[in-house]
């Protein structure tokens, strides 16, 4: 499986699955994002880091259709999944649900599960856009509907197993411990069969051990599902060891990009994080 991954990475090393060009976002007079460029290539783990208020979540909202960017181009190149559009499709301003259907699934910084549904049902929601039972089908519950329903259940349970929540399948989401809720969000996103997984601070509020487990899980998921990952994260240890490339954002601009090593040595990044050193 890992080998196939490498092949895929080599074959289309240059082409991206997501390409963001010149994206800006204004809220009234406030410029939250200005001319952001970003690429995610197949099978890559890309991290977006930056101080609080730098515009990272705004960026996520811009590429998932929650906001329509004021300017610029966001293009997705779905190569796997149901609607294959390898020639690229412009997604800024597209409705959020269509972006998800295209194969870009996200999690939220402040967990947004469906609290009074069970863990399994939360994941089943992720299967919604890949299934098609309508009102009539649901009422008549014919053979096709029943088969689809069982498929949804089995597949969702499989996703729960992947994130280690199989024992909690029938618990209400609101009763799950914090770490499990974070993982459940990932399972729900995976259930939509994405080609790109967007994780908004997945390790927020986790202790070092949980963070390490999460890291291993992301690596495993990338291998197994052949997804690219774009994540926002504050935990530097995790970001440095997990990502293939890092983008650093400050005041809505990308101030640095490169491998973890390059970024870690960039004086601009050090300045952004530690403040201006007057003696330098």
């Amino acid at each position: 499986m890992g080998q196939g991954m490498n092949e895929a990475t080599n074959r289309s090393a240059e082409s991206a699955v997501l390409s963001v060009r010149n994206v800006s976002m204004n809220f009234g007079g406030l410029r939250a994002l200005s001319e952001v460029d970003l690429d995610v290539r197949p099978g890559e783990v890309v991290a977006l880091i930056g101080p609080n208020g730098a515009g990272k979540t705004t960026f996520f909202n811009c590429i998932t259709g929650i906001y329509t960017p004021t300017g610029g181009e966001v293009t997705a190149y779905p190569r796997t999944g149901k609607p294959k559009r390898p020639e690229g499709i412009r997604i800024n301003g597209m409705r959020t649900n269509l972006v998800c259907e295209l194969g870009m699934a996200r999690t939220f910084q402040n967990i947004r599960l469906f609290p009074s549904m069970t863990a399994l049902e939360n994941v089943m929601i992720g299967r919604h856009c890949r299934t098609k039972t309508g009102i009539l089908g649901a009422v008549l519950r014919g053979a096709a509907t029943r088969r689809e329903e069982q498929e949804v259940v089995d597949k969702s349970f499989e996703m729960l197993t992947k994130v280690g929540l199989e024992k909690l399948a029938n618990e209400y989401a609101r009763n799950l411990p914090y770490g499990a809720q974070r993982r459940l969000e990932i399972a729900r996103a995976l259930a939509t069969e994405p080609f790109l997984l967007l994780l908004d601070e997945p390790a927020a509020g986790m202790n070092p051990q949980e963070t390490e487990e999460l890291k291993q899980m992301v690596i495993r998921i990338r291998e197994e599902f052949k997804v690219s990952v774009l994540l926002i994260e504050h935990d530097m240890k995790m970001v440095m060891s997990l990502s293939d490339r890092i983008y650093v954002m400050e005041y809505g601009r990308i101030i640095s990009t490169g491998t973890p090593k390059q970024v870690g040595e960039d004086p601009q990044v050090i300045r952004a994080y530690l403040g201006e050193d007057s003696d330098a």
């Binding site: 649900n97 069970t118 856009c129 009102i135 197993t161 199989e166």
Partner: protein
């Protein structure tokens, strides 16, 4: 002071409650002293002091206050217990109802009674039951919009009116029969549901409630004032009863016939809503209710889901409108006031939002109790309001909590 301290001994609690209740009773007795005790006769120029009333007042309020404090404490304790437990426990009622050993025979018995009802009870009773059944379907319809999809619709009665007037007008002008108009009314209801749905797509919560409230009022006002179209407040009379292969029948038989039509419609509605609830569509509605942004971000088309919920709810209401017009043979706008919307909403909330069984129980409770409490008709609204307050304080989730289905998993794949 009212806060229960877990370290305290239980008897200390009781003493504390007695003290509290005593203070409350004294205070209330003092407040009501001028009205309850002193009686000034301006003609005779005498003042009567009715001290016994003061004693009754104090005693009554003491007992009530004590009961209230004890119940509140029990509630707090069970809440605290619930917070400690990770597994949620159901109430005795819903556990009893979900146990197949009891549920199956109970359902069979219920169906048997329902089937034989008109043969054993008077026409009056049957008529009341038909009304209650209409409200069962209305409740189940609103349950789709409010309980499942979480769209607070305060103008639900508008769709009921649409159905009723569809039948009344088509019957009056074109002599169309009940069975022809029933599907027509449903279609028109769905159309109006979508018509209302479109402008309110972006609204939620309070805003949605206000717009739907306005919509309900618009429909009623149009019906009241556009006399050329709807005959105004005087309404439409002599609406045909449902046809039965051209057979003529007496009023009594008509009631029985109506009852069976209604019973069939109720069973159909229960079947449809129960199946929808646990389907892909039902889950999408629930997700919409829980978190609209996350729901859309997970690939659910919010617009479609909302319009579906609105139009399905409206369809059921319009169907009931047609039945209502055929049952009463006379309709006017007075039957479609906000009070009706509030009543249907109360059925859904009291029964338990999202629970089919709860809504059915709620409808029977709210429709049948007032009928059989005619003896207390003066206090009916008072009792009604008081009951609602009590239920909302002690069982905010409704009579029957909506339970999520436990899905069967084919565990063949290796973890």
């Amino acid at each position: 002071m009212a806060q229960a301290n877990p370290i305290q001994h239980p008897t200390q609690h009781v003493i504390q409650h007695v003290k509290q209740a005593f203070v409350a009773a004294i205070w209330l007795a003092f407040l009501t002293l001028p009205i309850m005790v002193i009686r000034v006769d301006t003609v005779e120029k005498t003042v009567t002091w009715r001290w016994m009333n003061l004693a009754y007042m104090a005693l009554g309020s003491f007992v009530l206050a004590l009961a209230w404090y004890c119940m509140m404490e029990r509630r707090d304790q069970s809440q605290a217990r619930k917070d400690l437990e990770t597994v949620e426990r159901d109430s005795a009622l819903s556990r009893f109802l979900s146990d197949p050993r009891f549920a199956k025979p109970l359902m069979a018995f219920g169906l048997l009674v329902a089937a034989g009802f008109p043969w054993f009870f008077s026409m009056y009773q049957t008529n009341i039951l038909v009304s209650a059944l209409i409200y069962v379907v209305l409740g189940l319809g609103l349950n789709i919009t409010v309980g499942l999809a979480g769209l607070l619709d305060l103008g639900y009665v508008a769709f009921y009116a649409v159905g009723a007037y569809t039948y009344a007008l088509l019957n009056h002008h074109f002599q169309l029969g009940f069975w022809t108009v029933l599907p027509l009314g449903a279609v028109l209801g769905a159309f109006f549901g979508i018509l209302l749905g479109f402008p309110v797509l972006r609204l939620r919560g309070d805003y949605l409630a206000i717009v739907t409230l306005g919509f309900g009022q618009i429909i009623r006002l149009v019906l009241e004032n556009w006399s050329a179209f709807s005959f105004g407040p005087s309404g439409i009379s002599n609406i045909d009863r449902p046809g039965l292969f051209g057979i003529t029948y007496s009023v009594e038989q008509a009631t029985t016939y109506m009852y069976y039509i209604m019973l069939a419609l109720v069973l159909l509605t229960i079947f449809v809503t129960a199946r929808l609830k646990d389907s892909r569509i039902g889950r999408a509605w629930l997700a919409l209710r829980e978190d609209e942004i996350a729901c859309q971000a997970m690939g659910i088309d919010n617009t479609r889901a909302k319009l579906m919920a609105f139009s399905l709810g409206a369809t059921l209401a319009a169907l009931m409108g047609v039945v209502f017009a055929a049952k009463t043979t006379f309709i006017n706008p007075a039957s479609f006031t906000f009070m009706e919307s509030a009543m249907i909403l109360a059925i859904v909330v009291l029964g338990g939002m999202g629970s089919v069984l709860g809504v059915i129980l709620g409808a029977f409770l709210l429709m049948l109790l007032p009928e059989y409490l005619r003896a207390f008709s003066e206090y009916r609204m008072l009792i009604f309001g008081f009951t609602m307050v009590l239920i909302m304080v002690f069982r905010p989730q409704g009579l029957v909590r909506a339970k999520r289905k436990v899905y069967k998993i084919n565990v063949e794949q290796a973890g």
